[in-house]
Symmetry: C2
Subunit: 142 residues, 2 copies
DNA sequence: GTATTTGCAAAAGCTTTGCTGCAAC
DNA sequence: GTTGCAGCAAAGCTTTTGCAAATAC
């Protein structure tokens, strides 16, 4: 295990938010100042292959970059609010059951799953509702 | 409705495979030869916003591009085989129930969902199994 | 000593944007 | 006539790659 990889793994593990490559690079450099962007990309690819981390798109709310998080025992899904950008994580046995059904019916050996949901969080949905009440004539294509 | 948009919508609707922007552009040009790549991107963004099409990553099996398909009444998920690249589509009431649970528990107004699963299809899993039996000593790092 | 990993810099891939002219209503 | 749409080309952002030097075992 090289120092750079250790630094990257620890950074991902201890991160409180979802990290894209740029943030991951910046934070990892606090441990290993000479670490390079290419190393981040290569290491992330490696860890993905080992099943140690998951790659997320988070509905491309902020461009096409990817985010990374350590793989947890129970898969969780990500709810992305298109209005405020908030990411909600959610795990439920129903998801685990669904995965089992997918694997069984399709005879498919699942290695990774990525379930992302886009829409409005409760507070943004409430705000929108209010807005609609205040302008009762939203126009012909309302 | 402009001719270009009509051409793009019809192309997506009648497509038999998942289209990325390059393929979509090529196929749409058979209807509207002067159509431009920028128009494809702008139209696809528009149709996404209207909820008429879904955007897929297909597990980034072939680079970072996106794929598009018309939104169907019942959402389906995509199984991507990392070995042969095959994409399997699958719909099940369990997925619809999961979505309802997600929406109810999180008070989240779902607009789009994207469930992608990566792994090995049955035939690739079988091939791999065979390979492992033939080389019983895969080395210290398995 | 050999194999693997890294940094660097350049390139590649996909997507977005500014602007001018054109089309739609 | 006004508003929005399309084409073009250039730029933008993220990711990948070739290669020589450095590191790990």
């Amino acid at each position: 295990m090289t120092a750079q990889r250790r630094a990257l793994i620890e950074t991902i593990q201890e991160a409180t938010a979802h990290l894209d490559v740029a943030s991951l690079l910046m934070q990892a450099r606090e441990r290993e100042p000479r670490i390079n962007r290419a190393t981040v990309y290569r290491t992330v690819e490696l860890l993905k292959g080992l099943g140690m981390i998951d790659e997320l798109d988070l509905m491309h709310l902020n461009g096409e970059k990817h985010y990374y998080e350590v793989k947890t025992q129970q898969d969780h899904l990500h709810l992305a609010c298109f209005e405020c950008g908030q990411i909600i994580e959610f795990a439920t046995p129903a998801f685990e059951r669904l995965k089992q059904e997918i694997a069984a019916i399709n005879q498919f050996a699942i290695q990774v799953t990525r379930l992302e949901v886009g829409g409005l969080c409760s507070s943004c949905a409430a705000k929108k509702e209010k807005r609609l009440q205040q302008e009762p004539k939203p126009g012909p294509r309302g």
